[in-house]
């Protein structure tokens, strides 16, 4: 219980203001010292006083004892009375001495100063033992306490009587009380003075602190224009008189330190008279409190300078954000909600700003977003930049378009965030597509001989079938149902085959959609094979397919992949032709296409035994308009387009080649 009280008091003390702490601490110390002094002084003074008074009483008694012996022997009691009365009533002594009486050898009272009957109790109350020269006792006389001091009266060696001096204890108490009052009064005065001084000191110390606290409060409320100087009485001038305040680009020696000099501010600082004797930063003079105030003032001024700079900077970057030519988003790294978007984003994506904010970014870009956000997060919270080219985004109304996306981690309003800048590259993509298309058309032209041949075969077969049928009809011959069925079935098969070739052609020539789809990688390979396989055979190049079964799909476009494989096999054929053409007898060439799954990658390899690629050109073969071929119709775009397509599908294209032996292109795509 008591402990709780103490704890409560301690807590109160802790919570109280500094001023009160100082104040009460000093006060408590002074009070304790005062009490100790008071008690000591009381002890010393009061004891001394009582001793002194007792001594006075004894002295009175001795004087009377000396002078009264004659009267006692003469039995001159009136003189004795007169003596003791004079002694008792001598000026201020009369208050101290409450009675004096003289008794004889038998303790019978000879004279006393009382004006009332002598109390019998007093007579024998304090007898001096035979060997003593005095005896002091405190006892009650009537209604008051008295110190009875008994002094023997001697004549020669014999005792002839005793003097009793009664000291009024009330009077002693009064004296003690007076002493105590005076002393306590003095101490109280000291305490009051200390109280006032302490109060002043505490106020002096805490007033600036309170003021600072007040200013800090103002600052924390965002009011940075608090008047600092009103009571400090110094003229700091208008803030705009500070060059660094007026122009945030001007560095301040105090604020920027040595950097200012490095940044070329030396000139300004060295020559500007304002800065040489800065009117805004205070020199820290005076006592600690004043220094604190100055330091605080300086801090505020720095904050004001910083704030101003920050505001300018913010303004600058805000304008970049607001009027930037590309859409910029700020995205929450956890839920991917859009926190902020600039007007350009609104314009490009077609949503209003209100619609954008709070919308998950993945809604704008469903594909791969998680992946690159993840990679961004892996790079750390504060830095990291991810560039994501040709990302497919959707405008309002689910209209897709391509963007190049740059994402990096930033801190936005104190929270980690991701800033995304997207550049609309749809137009470029379309140009690409057109280029691809043009290239495809070129390929088609190149393929036309093979295709024509390919179409010719079913046509010939149909022709033969129909000729046979027509001949049988002309000769009026019976066509055995078995034969008829065989011919018709064969014709139908050949029509189907032709139709398939045409379909393949059509699909090859079709312009690809923007949106990728799940594609079985074997399909485009088979399509290409069906288009060019026969033709290659005519050129004595055998094309072998080794397609894996159950390979997962990838995200791509079927006809673009056809183009990829078409370009690759065409290049292979060219390489083989180049090699075989130099050889006698034109030996057969071989192209092997294999597909398989390798981890989470779907891999397709195109291998030939052609001339190979020299190390000198290996780095260049993916560059556009690079060609080793002599024919003027080849524009050297084939491999460049191939590489571009593979990269569009986040795939990889690797090349291994041995000059004179062959080349292998290895394509790998992520499993969808």
């Amino acid at each position: 219980m008591k402990r709780d009280l103490i704890r409560e008091a301690a807590k109160r003390f802790r919570d109280t203001s500094l001023k009160n702490k100082i104040f009460f601490s000093i006060l408590a110390v002074i009070l304790i010292i005062s009490i100790v002094i008071a008690m000591l002084a009381r002890w010393i003074l009061v004891d001394n006083l009582i001793d002194e008074l007792e001594l006075r009483g004894i002295a009175i008694g001795r004087t009377i004892a000396e002078r009264s012996s004659g009267y006692i022997l003469d039995k001159n009691y009136p003189e004795l009375l007169s003596l003791i009365f004079d002694e008792a009533k001598l000026k201020e002594r009369q208050h101290l001495v409450s009675y004096i009486f003289v008794s004889d050898r038998e303790d019978d009272v000879l004279s006393h100063t009382l004006t009332r009957p002598f109390p019998e109790s007093l007579r024998l109350a304090n007898r001096v033992p035979p060997d003593e020269t005095k005896s002091v006792r405190l006892f009650r006389v009537g209604d008051q306490m008295a110190y009875d001091i008994a002094i023997p009266i001697t004549q020669g060696i014999y005792r002839i009587g005793t003097v009793h001096v009664g000291l009024n204890q009330n009077h002693i108490d009064q004296l003690v009380g007076k002493l105590r009052t005076t002393f306590l009064g003095f101490l109280s005065l000291v305490v009051v003075i200390i109280f006032v001084i302490t109060h002043r000191i505490a106020k002096y110390i805490t007033m600036p602190i309170s003021k600072l606290t007040q200013i800090s409060d103002e600052l924390s409320k965002g009011n940075f224009d608090v008047k600092l100087d009103a009571e400090q009485g110094t003229d700091s001038g208008q803030p705009l008189e500070c060059p660094a305040f007026a122009n945030p680009d001007v560095p301040c020696r105090r604020l920027d330190g040595e950097l200012a000099v490095v940044d070329g501010g030396a000139e300004i600082l060295g020559t500007d008279p304002v800065c040489r004797d800065c009117r805004f930063y205070r020199r820290q003079k005076g006592d600690e409190v004043a220094q604190l105030a100055d330091a605080f003032y300086n801090m505020i001024w720095s904050i004001r300078l910083y704030r101003r700079r920050l505001r300018e900077s913010e303004k600058k970057y805000r304008s970049l954000f607001d009027s930037g030519p590309d859409p910029i988003f700020v995205v929450n790294p956890h839920g991917f909600e859009i926190i902020d978007a600039n007007p350009r984003a609104v314009e490009v994506y077609g949503y209003s700003r209100e619609e954008l904010i709070g919308k998950p970014f993945t809604e704008l870009a469903p594909e791969h977003t998680h992946k690159y956000f993840q990679s961004l997060q892996d790079q750390g919270e504060t830095h990291g930049l991810v560039t994501y080219p040709k990302a497919l985004h959707y405008k309002k109304g689910h209209t897709p378009f391509y963007v190049n996306l740059h994402a990096s981690n930033i801190a936005y309003k104190g929270q980690p965030a991701i800033v995304l800048a997207s550049t609309d590259i749809t137009e470029m993509i379309e140009k690409d597509a057109q280029l691809v298309q043009a290239s495809k058309m070129g390929s088609l032209g190149e393929m036309s001989a093979g295709i024509a041949h390919e179409l010719n075969q079913p046509l010939n077969a149909i022709k033969m079938g129909s000729d046979f049928l027509s001949m049988m009809v002309e000769q009026q011959r019976e066509i055995p149902p078995k034969d008829l069925h065989q011919v018709v079935a064969e014709m139908s098969t050949q029509v189907d085959r032709a139709a398939e070739i045409i379909n393949t052609l059509r699909s090859f020539g079709r312009k690809a959609e923007l949106v990728t789809e799940r594609v079985d990688i074997n399909k485009p390979i088979q399509a290409v094979f069906s288009l060019v396989g026969r033709q290659f055979e005519l050129e004595n190049i055998r094309m072998e397919l080794d397609l894996g079964r159950g390979i997962p799909a990838i995200m791509a476009h079927d006809n673009r992949l056809q183009q990829v494989f078409f370009n690759l096999v065409t290049n292979a054929r060219d390489a083989i032709s180049e090699k075989k053409g130099r050889l006698p007898g034109r030996p057969a060439g071989r192209i092997l296409i294999r597909t398989f799954q390798e981890g989470d990658q779907v891999v397709a390899e195109v291998e030939d035994d052609g001339i190979g690629i020299s190390d000198a050109v290996r780095d260049k073969i993916f560059e556009p308009f690079f060609s080793t071929k002599e024919s003027s119709i080849d524009m050297g775009l084939g491999l460049a387009i191939t590489y571009g397509i593979v990269k569009d599908y986040r795939g990889d294209l690797q090349l291994t080649s041995q000059e004179g032996i062959g080349t292998t292109f290895k394509l790998s795509f992520a499993v969808a």
């Binding site: 009691y77 007169s82 009365f85 009369q94 004279s111 004006t115």
Partner: protein, 345 residues
């Protein structure tokens, strides 16, 4: 005493008779003190009355203060009984200051005397008279030309006389008792020193007159605080049924009316008046309050007694008498004295 007897005979005051317990202190202060203690403790008196003498009375003042007992009608005009003011001390007569003051004024104004010496008893009484004289002279920017003294209870006046004679004083203010004063006057006269002798009331007119019976050609003036109680005066205060002369003749037929007796008579009148006014429930404080309520008690012969809470002296008047034909009689005209003085030179 005669008045108190008379009052007791009439049935006392509020049914109480007044008993007087008297002790002789022989004009010895310690004795007086012992007697006072005895009166207070052993006799348990209600009040102290008619104490005689300055040193004796002054001596017992502390005891009176402590005992808080009223003391009324002291035969002394000592200033110590008046200042500092004490509630328990009730004076009736005028003070020595008043006596000497009035005397000095007469000596200077009426008789044109300048050189005034003081002969005094070397104790509280003498000092009081000396101080009064000095104060009075000071008002005229004068000081005593000489001072002579003697010890109480002795007759060693020669030394003082020599001093005063040497100063050539024209008047001698004497504050003493009758024996030394009579001796002083006699010796002065014998030695051809003939100034005006002025004595304060305490000296005792009749005793002095008797001792100076055979001296002629001396000028002796005495101040009194009561008028002369002339046995032939028809005033009711003296000759009335309860007058001083009547009652004295009745209770003490062998005694002659005198100043001291008359003063005592007046004191007794004040005492009885106070007791009457204090009412049936008599206490010391009530008695003092009663005395203080006497604002204007006219007894006749021009004696008006007035007290108040801050004034414990009933009378202020001073009467001057001169010695002629063996007795003191009221001075009617100071010019006669002046003439006599001039003649004696």
């Amino acid at each position: 005493m005669s008045y108190l007897n008379h009052v007791n005979e009439q049935g006392g005051v509020h049914g109480r008779t007044i008993k007087v317990v008297a002790y002789d202190d022989s004009y010895d202060p310690p004795m007086c003190m012992a007697n006072t203690q005895k009166l207070i403790i052993d006799d348990q008196v209600f009040a102290l009355f008619c104490y005689v003498g300055t040193p004796t009375t002054v001596k017992v003042l502390p005891m009176i203060e402590e005992a808080r007992i009223p003391l009324l009608g002291m035969f002394t005009g000592a200033n110590a009984l008046r200042e500092p003011f004490s509630r328990h001390l009730i004076n009736v007569r005028a003070s020595y200051y008043q006596e000497t003051g009035a005397a000095v004024r007469h000596l200077i104004d009426d008789l044109g005397l300048q050189k005034i010496a003081v002969f005094y008893q070397y104790d509280a009484y003498g000092f009081d008279g000396l101080t009064g004289t000095e104060l009075a002279l000071k008002r005229f920017n004068l000081a005593p030309v000489a001072g002579g003294s003697y010890n109480r209870g002795t007759l060693d006046v020669q030394e003082g006389l020599n001093k005063i004679m040497a100063s050539g004083a024209e008047a001698v203010v004497m504050i003493g008792t009758y024996d030394p004063c009579a001796k002083f006057i006699r010796l002065a006269h014998e030695q051809g020193f003939r100034p005006l002798f002025y004595l304060v009331s305490f000296v005792g007119a009749d005793e002095l007159a008797r001792r100076l019976e055979n001296q002629h050609g001396i000028t002796v003036v005495m101040s009194q605080v009561v008028p002369p109680p002339d046995r032939l005066d028809p005033s009711p205060l003296l000759a009335g049924p309860d007058g001083y002369v009547t009652l004295l003749k009745r209770y003490f037929p062998e005694d002659q009316p005198n100043f001291v007796g008359f003063e005592g008579f007046i004191n007794a009148r004040v005492l009885v008046e106070g007791l009457k006014r204090a009412g049936a429930d008599l206490t010391r404080q009530a008695f003092i309050n009663a005395i203080e309520s006497i604002h204007d008690l006219s007894l006749g012969l021009g004696i008006n007694i007035a007290f108040s809470a801050s004034d414990h002296q009933g009378l202020d008047r001073v009467y001057f008498t001169r010695l002629a034909n063996g007795q003191f009689s009221l001075i009617k005209d100071w010019a006669d004295i002046k003439a006599q003085l001039d003649a004696s030179r």
